[in-house]
């Protein structure tokens, strides 16, 4: 549970405050066509090229539900461990806006397709918390108004009009900006695993409205105990935050702003605010009094959405292993909880890791991935999907390390070679003579050469056995790094007559 631990509090002038955060996430459904029309959903098409007469609100046009979008919503609901409602209702949400051609958005109001569920999030300090999901409903996206195309006129692009969105509403179960960002990251991972949303925040496929309130210490626990919102402060909604970084900044700013207002003797007015990322502030958009009266009512053009439990069960059978289950499996195979949670955060990364770890030590594979592969990707500004060396090839490198064909150091050089030049690691090792030397004769010869060249050091090491490491380094150098370090160590000990603990 979410105990009010010290590091979740914000200190004000008059004492400490708790932050309470809830979120409404709009996730664009991955589908070929729109929620109620056959128009394409391809991103980046020419303005108004993906528009049917339905999307443009022409007279006499009627919406027809896209079964694929319904399936995707159910899939997402199952991934959120949520209640799937076998009967849901589409409503009209009425308001005038130039990019809303029908003059109403078809949404779900009282009877959403998905009910309560939960998302588990892992925090950096090892804490895990459950964020309750209130509901998920399907709705149409609006078009886009363009104000920078003409000095006097605005233009409207309806490509997005009618695209299916899932609005996912959480309970107010987040307490810090870190938790809010972690939740969105986890939700993004889940929908990407499920293939129900691509999670591209910069293309607007995922956008979050964040509700923030502050209360005195203890208020949140009282709210969790009896469910009454009276224990919480008045919330403000920050609209359309579209990056993980901005979420943390916006929450932080807004919580501080509210505390300042209250501590100065003011009250928080329920309102909708906008986060300006350039100045790092939230600003009022409209007050509760200015809020629209959306006049929701059931859309008479659409029948109630009804399906059978057996259909839901069939979808459940096709669900992939989700991050939580994958993480548990990784931990069982020997990874730390932290390593496992990093690996499962992106499905592509987890998939790469699984291929990489086949038949080798899990921890060794995870370390290789974290230190070598991700390090190089980071350096080159690439993502896991662009990695130039396949998981299979890297798996061969790890195998060569573990069966002592090559040393760990040589392995890194080998990776650098195949990273830039390509090629099969085993062939490269053979061709370039990178195999580790375990032949004691060759090692002994190298030791003799080092001793001969450094008689003073031989005396020193006898007094200070720790200097043996210097000899190991020299011998390695002598053998071009190919000598097996353990064999060198053992041979040196014998030759220099060093004690075992050296």
């Amino acid at each position: 549970m979410n105990a009010p631990i010290k590091n979740k509090l914000l200190k004000g002038e008059t004492g400490e405050w708790e932050i309470v955060i809830g979120m409404e996430v709009h996730a664009q459904v991955l589908s070929q066509s729109k929620l109620f029309s056959g128009a394409s959903t391809t991103f980046g098409a020419d303005p108004n090229s993906n528009v049917s007469f339905i999307d443009a609100g022409f007279p006499g046009m009627l919406p027809v539900i896209n079964a694929k979008c319904v399936e995707q919503a159910v899939r997402t609901g199952l991934g959120l461990k949520a209640k799937i409602n076998l009967r849901s209702i589409f409503d009209r949400k009425n308001y005038f806006f130039p990019d809303l051609p029908q003059g109403y958005q078809i949404s779900q109001y009282k009877d959403p397709i998905v009910g309560e569920g939960e998302v588990l999030i892992d925090l950096k300090d090892g804490e895990s918390i459950k964020v309750g999901i209130e509901r998920l409903h399907l709705e149409q996206d609006a078009g886009k108004s363009l104000h920078d195309q003409h000095p006097d006129n605005s233009f409207v692009d309806l490509n997005r009009s009618g695209i299916a969105l899932m609005e996912i509403v959480t309970k107010p179960h987040m307490r810090t900006s870190e938790e809010a960002a972690a939740f969105l990251k986890k939700l993004r991972a889940i929908v990407r695993y499920l293939g129900t949303c691509d999670g591209n925040m910069d293309e607007g496929s995922m956008r979050a409205d964040i509700n923030v309130s502050v209360c005195r210490v203890g208020g949140y626990d009282k709210f969790r105990a009896d469910g009454s919102f009276k224990h919480l402060g008045t919330r403000c909604e920050i609209k359309n935050v579209n990056s993980m970084r901005f979420i943390a900044q916006a929450v932080e700013y807004e919580a501080r702003r509210q505390i300042e207002v209250i501590e100065a003797g003011g009250t928080i007015a329920q309102e909708t605010r906008r986060y300006d990322s350039k100045v790092g502030e939230t600003r009022s958009m409209r007050s509760k009094e200015e809020a629209h009266d959306y006049r929701y009512f059931p859309d008479p053009d659409l029948l109630p959405l009804e399906f059978e439990q057996s259909w839901v069960d069939a979808i459940a059978k096709t669900l992939p292993e989700l991050p939580d289950e994958k993480k548990a499996r990784f931990v069982q195979s020997g990874l730390s909880a932290y390593d496992a949670s990093v690996l499962v955060a992106e499905r592509e990364l987890a998939d790469y890791y699984e291929e990489l770890a086949k038949g080798v030590d899990a921890k060794a594979a995870a370390n290789w991935l974290n230190n070598e592969i991700l390090g190089r990707l980071n350096r080159d500004g690439l993502s896991i999907t662009d990695v130039p060396v396949s998981a299979h090839a890297n798996n061969a490198i790890i195998q060569m390390i573990s069966d002592k064909t090559i040393s760990g150091k040589i392995a890194k050089d080998l990776l650098d070679i195949v990273w830039t030049e390509g090629g099969d690691p085993r062939t490269v090792v053979e061709a370039r003579g990178m195999k580790q030397v375990t032949d004691t004769g060759a090692i002994d010869a190298a030791i003799e050469a080092v001793i001969a060249a450094n008689p003073d050091k031989v005396e020193e090491v006898k007094a200070k056995p720790k200097l043996a490491a210097w000899f190991v380094g020299q011998v390695m150098k002598q053998t071009g790094g190919k000598a097996n370090p353990a064999a060198v160590n053992a041979a040196l000990k014998t030759r220099l007559n060093l004690p075992d603990e050296g």
Binding site: G57, G60, P98, Y104, F297, D299
Partner: protein
Amino acid sequence: MSDLISMTLAEARDAIRAKTISSRELTGAFVSAIEKARPLNAFITEAGEQALAMADAADKRIASGQVGALEGLPLAIKDLFCTKGVRTTAASKILGNFVPPYESTVTQNLWDAGAVMLGKTNLDEFAMGSSNETSAFGTVINPWRAKNSNVNLVPGGSSGGSSAAVAADLCLAATGTDTGGSIRQPAAVTGRVGLKPTYGRCSRFGIVAFASSLDQAGPMTKTVKDAAIMLKSMASVDAKDSTSVDIEVPDYEKLLEGGIKGLKVGIPREYRIDGAPAEIDALWTKGAEWLKAQGAQIVEVSLPHTKYALPTYYIVAPAEASANLARYDGVRFGYRAEGVRDITDLYEKSRGQGFGAEVQRRILIGTYVLSAGYYDAYYSRAQKLRTLIKRDFEQAFEKCDVLLTPTTPGPAFGVGAKTSDPLEMYLQDVFTVTVNLAGLPGISVPAGLSENGLPLGLQLIGKAFDEATLLRAAQAVETAADFKHSPAKWWSV
């Protein structure tokens, strides 16, 4: 020529099949009749040239042996149906010169059956009205006049252009739409047949929406048989309309045969309203006797929530309309006001200038009843009442097969007689709205003349998707009534 245009749809069909007339001849006769009848203002758009081209195409198909169910038969289309390439106005200024790039499913079905389009008929703006006086294209004049009178009467509404066109022999048949009585009431006051099918029987795709849960397309014809023929072609399940229903469309014409022996006809006692003219009551009684004489059994039934139907309708229909008409905003198509300051000004001026008074009134009512704080008191309660009204019918149909009622509280009235009092106008629908609220099929059949020589109709109401029984009962009334009257063609002299 006048012989051609006074034929029924069935007669014309048979004549065309027998090749005694061509579609071109028939269509030509209607095109010239329409020109002569312009004083009636029944058409918003005449499509004479296109009609003749369609007729020629039909004649070609006939010559090659391809004969559709309505091959070569000229029809009039209510200007609420979108017709590809032909201006569609909904009788509103706000649609401007809107020319749909698509065809409604119902009209497409008709053209697929070989029918010819003569033009688009006038109506109340967005089908909101009972007298065709709210049209932005002017009032339609009823071809009928009272005995010894030259006073212009209304043709009913909202399908008043269609009812006038059928009554004045300006087409073989017409399409209408019926949200609260808009097919049956105008048919009744023009002495013709009007059928509102079960909700979901005909696709609503491509019909300019008024109230989506109530709107239904149907035929307006000279005879019951013609209605059966038309419905067969108009009806279809449609993937483009989620509320259309996948139930086989039977051969209604064939199912007209067999008589009504043993048919149970319910008389709902709540339809006897105070202040209704005695002649309406008398006609109703006569109707029951006609059916009884043909072997039907008359049973009294109760529809206890009838008195709530009109208020329920005037909450539900405007609520849906307020949303349906939000798309007419001056942004993408239709009328756009000039000289506006900003987007709000554009909305307000375009809609303020583009919509007529009755449409604005209903948008305001609809917006009000859906507003926060009023939703529960109005919309929500209206939905509950609608369920009760539906249940009334279900219970009544446990005791009978069809119901018999008057169609309207009286005959056609004078132009302007009821325009100053919207509530009195709304009363025109008192016998018809219940059927829309329950989603049932209803038909009006001409049954006699009023004291002053104007047509009166009787309404039959059927079980959902049992149009076949409904039509058979309607034909029994038609046969007994033997209504052979037609208006004098005063406009073409």
